[in-house]
């Protein structure tokens, strides 16, 4: 039976066309995966079903849910539909819950608003629903507030709110994008279980082809506000008729070409020796003793020249703190960091300014990585501050242009401001900034995580090429294991401040030893055509 039918949907916001001729159907009890890169219009498609569109939106076409034409419904009738028959969960669990209301209040509100049940009855049902999303009463009483829940736990509360009244359609907009890979696997499992138990339909929106491959019965591929390919999961993944689908698929599985280089075991670029870092905890009472939290515990490892090392682990495992400590952005509480054999940072002592040129960093967010008030030339040349020799303006100018060209941009771009560039271009500029002082080591802190897959593949290629060309070493920090797998030689797995496993990337991924590594690798969604075929045969 067809639960939702969208027919010839055209939509524009403030006269800018956003969606063009969108038509698709969702069958009862099935999972529809909607996949596309940012700007493809997948979220707006979902919001148009709920009619929660931004001001200034106009649309035409037909949306029929369960026999009712959405356009003919009044706002009051739509309110009766939302949260009752159609529910939605969003990407950012950290901000999607009201911070001043208890989780019980927020779940039971959905119930009270639609059913007119008494407070006690609604609380009872809220309790049962929270149990269903695996938030047991002992740890998660109704009276808890969202602020001390983790991202995964908040997302479970969101799901509880959405399914409390057993809706017919659940729309999940990037529900796991902000979560760790293990948490993502748990949430996806939970969604799959709920779909089966309640016989509900799920519209799962994601940028991650692997998630769709693992979850969806039917697939919709979107690009620039249009549907480029749709069909059953099996058909889409085996045929891949549209070139864009093929491009997405290959970008998702992309492995950059790298030269097999000989590593000199004696040429150590970075040596981390028994490093520990503490954070002050907020005091419980005014005069209680200052408590510390040890975020990094006795970590040691080496990086050789030209070597790419991956550092993986869930959020809060200490990988960011470790990277800050290596760059001497945070002081060490124990141990030493040596760069090119010289002490760079040790307990209570940071590096000389002139030593700073040996390491650089590229951050995750291409938008907050640059001072918006400076031109690109000035932004890129900032690391020269750490160089001891004085350079004249011509030399700096030449270096800026070289750096821009080597990351695939134009020399003339140095006169532009950063807002004139796209996310992918900005990340290239960030790499140029790191490259300009010819450092030995670049720390890549989730450097490709914010990029769409096709852009990500290009940036990964660029990084691989630069590493070969300049004998650069990378410390590649990421929660995205498939990316780490594709670009690194060796990998370090971090859990609760300690390195629990280390080894050549291939070995660790194929034959993990530590239980935590095993759980991480098991949680990675797989984009494997054979598995999709196998799944099709079962169903």
């Amino acid at each position: 039976m067809t639960l939702l039918k969208v027919h010839n949907l055209d939509l524009s916001i403030a006269q800018n066309p956003i969606l063009k001729d969108i038509s698709f159907e969702i069958e009862a009890g099935r999972i529809l995966g909607v996949v596309g890169e940012s700007g493809s219009g997948k979220s707006i498609t979902a919001l148009s079903i709920l009619q929660l569109l931004p001001n200034g939106t106009t649309w035409s076409g037909q949306i029929v849910f369960d026999g009712q034409d959405i356009q003919s419904l009044s706002e009051h009738e739509l309110c009766g539909l939302r949260g009752n028959d159609i529910s939605m969960i969003f990407q950012e669990p950290m901000t999607a819950l009201n911070p001043v209301k208890t989780i019980g209040d927020q779940v039971s509100e959905s119930i009270r608003i639609h059913t007119g049940k008494s407070r006690a009855e609604a609380d009872q049902l809220a309790r049962e629903t929270l149990n269903r999303v695996e938030l047991p009463e002992s740890e998660f009483p109704l009276s808890r507030y969202p602020h001390d829940l983790s991202g995964g736990q908040r997302q479970r509360v969101m799901i509880a709110m959405a399914i409390a009244l057993q809706p017919k359609l659940l729309i999940a907009d990037e529900p796991t994008t902000a979560l760790d890979v293990t948490t993502q696997a748990e949430i996806l499992d939970l969604l799959q279980k709920l779909v089966k138990e309640d016989d509900l339909s799920l519209m799962l929106i994601t940028h991650d082809l692997a998630v769709v491959a693992q979850m969806a019965d039917d697939v919709l591929v979107m690009k620039d506000g249009e549907i480029v390919e749709q069909g059953s999961s099996f058909d889409v993944f085996t045929n891949m008729e549209h070139p864009y689908t093929r491009q997405l698929f290959s970008a998702s599985n992309h492995v950059p070409q790298r030269e097999a280089n000989q590593k000199n075991a004696n040429d150590v670029v970075l040596s981390v020796e028994h490093v520990s870092c503490d954070y002050k905890l907020p005091k419980e009472r005014l005069f209680s003793k200052q408590q510390y939290f040890r975020a990094v515990k006795d970590v040691s490892f080496k990086i050789h020249r030209g070597e790419n090392i991956g550092l993986v682990g869930g959020s809060g495992c200490g990988k960011s703190t470790l990277s800050r400590a290596i760059l001497a952005l945070k002081s060490l509480d124990e141990g030493n960091v040596l760069i090119n054999g010289e002490t760079f940072s040790s307990k209570g002592k940071g590096p000389e300014i002139s030593q700073r040129a040996a390491t650089q960093i590229v951050f995750q967010d291409p938008y907050s990585s640059f001072n918006p008030r400076h031109k690109v030339g000035r932004l890129i040349s900032e690391p020269f501050y750490a160089k001891s020799e004085e350079l004249n303006e011509d030399q700096i100018d030449t270096a800026v242009k070289e750096a821009l060209v080597s990351v695939g941009l134009n020399a003339a771009d140095s006169d532009k401001y950063i807002h004139e560039f796209s996310g992918g271009q900005r990340q290239r500029i960030a790499i140029a900034r790191a490259l300009i002082v010819k450092p030995s080591l670049i720390v890549l802190d989730e450097a490709v995580s914010a990029l769409d897959v096709s852009i990500r593949a290009q940036v990964l290629d660029l990084l691989a090429e630069l590493s070969d060309r300049f004998d650069l070493s990378y410390l590649f920090i990421s929660h995205d294991l498939s990316v780490v797998r594709s670009i690194t030689d060796r990998v370090l797995v971090m859990e609760r401040g300690r390195i629990v496993e280390t080894g050549p990337t291939q070995d660790v991924f194929e034959n993990p030893q530590h239980a935590y590594t095993k759980s991480l690798i098991k949680a990675i969604p797989k984009l494997d055509i054979d598995e999709i075929r196998a799944k099709e045969k079962i169903t």
């Binding site: 002139s354 650089q360 951050f363 907050s368 990585s369 001072n371 918006p372």
Partner: protein
């Protein structure tokens, strides 16, 4: 994450679209001009007493009428504008030049003892009802324009210190600040090179608001006799003089009162307009 950059309308277009800003800038310009012209020319000598002409309502000879001593109100307003604006302007300067460095410094030492001391000091100034502090200061040093500046300026310090600290704290989380630290730049240098230019917009907007508040505060002090002293005319004292005569000559109260209202209104409209023009977030929403 989007591969399209946001197109921004040009600044000039936005200026023209913002009616509030234009009205505000126009009003402000009038009063600034009046203050400046008063240095070289006023219709009459603002201090000249002429009992024959007292309490005249507005006419061709005296556009805004005369007061109970027969002084020309327009001339008094023009000279008064000078005092009001000078006091408020210098007081804003005091606030910015003392408050902003304190706030930036506190932010760069976040959570440290110095940060704590600076912030508690700010709280302490806020604990004194503003006018009370001004009254105490003028009680110590005697009334006058300079002491009015000190009294109002002291209050501007914590305003700018808090504003710049708060804004700087969020900027310190930005990755470009970390990148600058990776290059070995000191916190002071980063505050100056990266933080200050990025909070300048906020400071300009707050500056216009404090400027208008300064004009109100100066008028209040002058009204109770603690501002600029005779023979220098001032808007606040003109209102005080008018109070006993309000039933016979209401224009004595209306003229300086409306002057204050229009000046403050102009500055506030300009400040709001500036905020909209300078805030890139709003720009995007509007475009």
């Amino acid at each position: 994450m989007s591969e399209q950059t946001v197109s921004q309308p040009s600044t000039m277009k936005l200026v023209l679209r913002s009616n509030g800003f234009i009205i505000g800038a126009f009003l402000t310009a009038i009063f600034v001009l009046a203050a400046l012209i008063s240095f070289i020319w006023t219709p009459y000598d603002a201090a000249q007493i002429s009992i024959v002409n007292k309490l005249k309502t507005p006419s061709m000879a005296h556009w805004l009428g005369t007061d109970h001593f027969g002084r020309d109100m327009l001339s008094m307003i023009m000279v008064g504008a000078r005092v009001s604006m000078a006091v408020a302007f210098v007081a804003v300067g005091v606030g910015i030049f003392v408050g902003v460095p304190l706030g930036l410094y506190a932010a760069s030492k976040r959570g440290g003892l110095i940060d704590e001391i600076i912030m508690r000091g700010n709280d302490l100034i806020f604990a004194f009802p503003s006018l009370l502090l001004a009254i105490m200061i003028t009680a110590v040093f005697g009334p006058g324009a300079v002491n009015a500046i000190i009294a109002i300026g002291i209050f501007n310090i914590p305003v700018f210190a808090r504003l710049s600290r708060g804004a700087a704290l969020s900027l310190w989380q930005r990755e470009y600040i970390l990148a600058a630290q990776v290059c070995g730049k000191s916190k002071a240098r980063i505050s100056f090179e990266h933080i200050l230019p990025n909070i300048a917009n906020l400071l300009i907007v707050q500056g216009t608001i404090q400027f208008s508040l300064g004009i109100l505060a100066e008028a209040g002090l002058a009204y109770v006799g603690l501002g600029a002293q005779p023979p220098l005319p001032s808007w606040g004292r003109m209102l005080n003089d008018a109070q006993t005569l309000i039933s016979i000559a209401p224009h004595l109260a209306l003229v300086p009162g409306l002057t204050i209202v229009l000046t403050v209104l102009g500055l506030n409209l300009m400040g709001d307009g500036l905020r909209d023009l300078l805030d890139p977030k709003l720009r995007r929403v509007k475009s």
